[in-house]
Symmetry: C3
Subunit: 265 residues, 3 copies
């Protein structure tokens, strides 16, 4: 199975699918092609949330503002999965997540614990502006056909000792409060923070302070009236600012990158 992720909109993903189908009979599954254009961080967040639900697969990821420059092209074995995409950080958080879930013994070093990065040998692609089609799709097909344990046997994949990392900001969680920030806003308008949902344990049905205002804590959206705001634990496990049948980002007046303060007493 090969999954596809990009910021291409339409119809460029279809050219990648054509190349994949010309090289392999692998099943193709779209993750999304409408990530905010050139937004490496948002894409990295969603890949980390979504890809771990898949069985072992090859994941083709092309959000690539540096296409055609000298940024490297990567294939990363992460646990039983392979990630293929540009070396700009977009693959790093999900690689850690997949390796944690399927990794080796705890005392292994990072590589043997589940992450093996390779640089893809790029040999004069047809275009300098569409490596998704001309570099990454062929590499993903090759990785799929080789199999997750056999990348090192392919001349096209050269072991590398590093790649660009990307870390999400850490929240500060105290006994009676927590500070963090809005990481992403989803299509419903739910504002997803980096604060772990565990801070709301035992508080459903109560109220807490969010940026100084009292807000109900609810298990899910429809536990408050239509249009009313709430804080809940989203499907990603983090605290989420939401509004029942409305947009949390607009109701709370927050956007990506905004700081957020929660106080529980």
């Amino acid at each position: 199975m090969i999954t596809l992720t990009s910021d291409f909109g339409s119809p460029y993903p279809a050219a990648m699918k054509g190349v994949l189908c010309a090289h392999t009979d692998a099943r193709l599954v779209d993750i999304a092609h409408d990530f905010p254009r050139q937004d490496v961080r948002t894409t990295a967040f969603w890949l980390r949330e979504v890809l771990p639900y898949f069985p072992p697969a090859t994941h083709l990821v092309v959000v690539d503002p540096g296409v055609g420059t000298d940024r490297a092209a990567l294939a990363i074995r992460a646990g039983e999965h392979v990630l293929v995409g540009p070396d700009n950080g977009v693959l790093a958080p999900v690689a850690r997540q997949l390796a944690d879930r399927h990794g080796g013994a705890p005392d292994d070093d990072e590589s043997s614990a589940g992450i093996e990065p390779f640089e893809i040998v790029v040999d004069d692609p047809e275009s300098a502006t569409f490596h998704g089609r001309d570099v990454f799709a062929p590499a993903a097909a090759l990785a799929h056909e080789a199999g997750v344990g056999h990348l090192a046997a392919c001349d096209e994949f050269v072991p590398t000792d590093g790649y660009e990392d990307l870390r999400f900001p850490e929240p500060a969680v105290g006994s009676g409060d927590a500070t963090g920030e809005i990481l992403v806003v989803d299509g419903f308008g739910n504002a997803i923070t980096n604060v772990p949902g565990a801070v709301l344990d035992g508080r459903f049905g109560e109220r807490i302070d969010v940026d100084g205002e009292r807000v109900p804590v609810a298990r899910s959206y429809a536990h408050v009236a239509a249009g009313e705001r709430l804080v809940t634990v989203g499907s990603h496990g983090n605290v989420e600012l939401a509004a029942n049948r409305g947009r949390g980002d607009e109701t709370f007046g927050v956007g990506v990158g905004d700081p957020i303060e929660l106080a529980f007493e």
Copy 2:
């Protein structure tokens, strides 16, 4: 085969696909993921129109404003199909349609005639806000693997004697007139009514009154000039208010829920 329908936009459907692929090799086909958010009625309309064209399949449907509340989770056998989704009415019209097409003897009662509802046993899902991923996708995979005739053999499906219904308003059709309402507007701007297309039989090329104004009746859009409005029979079999190479809803000034009066003499 498992089809997927939601109002999730992107990328949440991919998490459901991951769960499905982890549980089954069934073929996956997207119906749509951009239905108006939390709009049970519009989704129910389109499911009724689209799903009957499929061969027997399991249909995963998640338009679920009550996620995380005590609304039940349903698996409904309807003819040779299985529908999986929340108990909010979204499955009811298509269940009737599928049962009518593939049902048992006319004197059977509803259940044996083709509709068998089951309540899905929900056992502490990972999240309270994403039952599409944590409840309905696993249930759809289970239903597919069990097979349409074997739901009752699964502990996870408990026969139930009722579920929430949803009925579209009935039109009033006389010998020279008809009154109804706009059920949905499609992406082209065609305003789809609940008036059966049969009222236009024999009138193509003529004009009728629509809300008091004379409008041409045409077999299809391009039978009138570009920009001109028309009434026709849409692909769903109902009267549709349209404009050639334009938007019918804007040209007629109508929207979902508006009453509509047709007069033929």
Copy 3:
């Protein structure tokens, strides 16, 4: 394999998928369903760019402003591919492209060189407004099941000696200048011209005049600063007006159909 292309948005493509799945087990791959509505020329451009990357397949194409009129329905063998859609020009450019790549001997006439057009026999379809579902999807399934070399053996496909052509305007390329026009603008805002990229050979890192203003020529977007404009060779092989991390169409102030003048000295 059957690919699907339309301007339907959602959820009408799903009805076509249902019909296809009811007639064939062929793999289905979406090209795009969000082409500008009724825009035959833009769709024809993208099909010509994308479909040649696919292995031999049947391609179902429904951008069909004349649905329900007497325009013909076509199945065209083009090289090892089959194209199915309305006779309005949308299939013509890609048919030539596919035939060129996989065609017969150079001295063959057009038909034996790789293009064989057939008219689809249309026998009282269920609707006059959705031939994608009622005419073209069944025909695509039939063509797939028959196989690319066996269309003539099907009663439903009648050889025809002509169909509507569509040609993109030709650029005028001199030794020190070129004039052309903007053919399409992609989702990133890149303005794609009809001027062949070869005019930029050897000029990367230099500047040329675009409509009288000096603009850098770059191999790819990130070779100029964020927000800065550039001319490059797009993945289609043509000159493209772009902006790094911005929209080329807005930065240059151009749109589809606008003339463009390049001067190199």
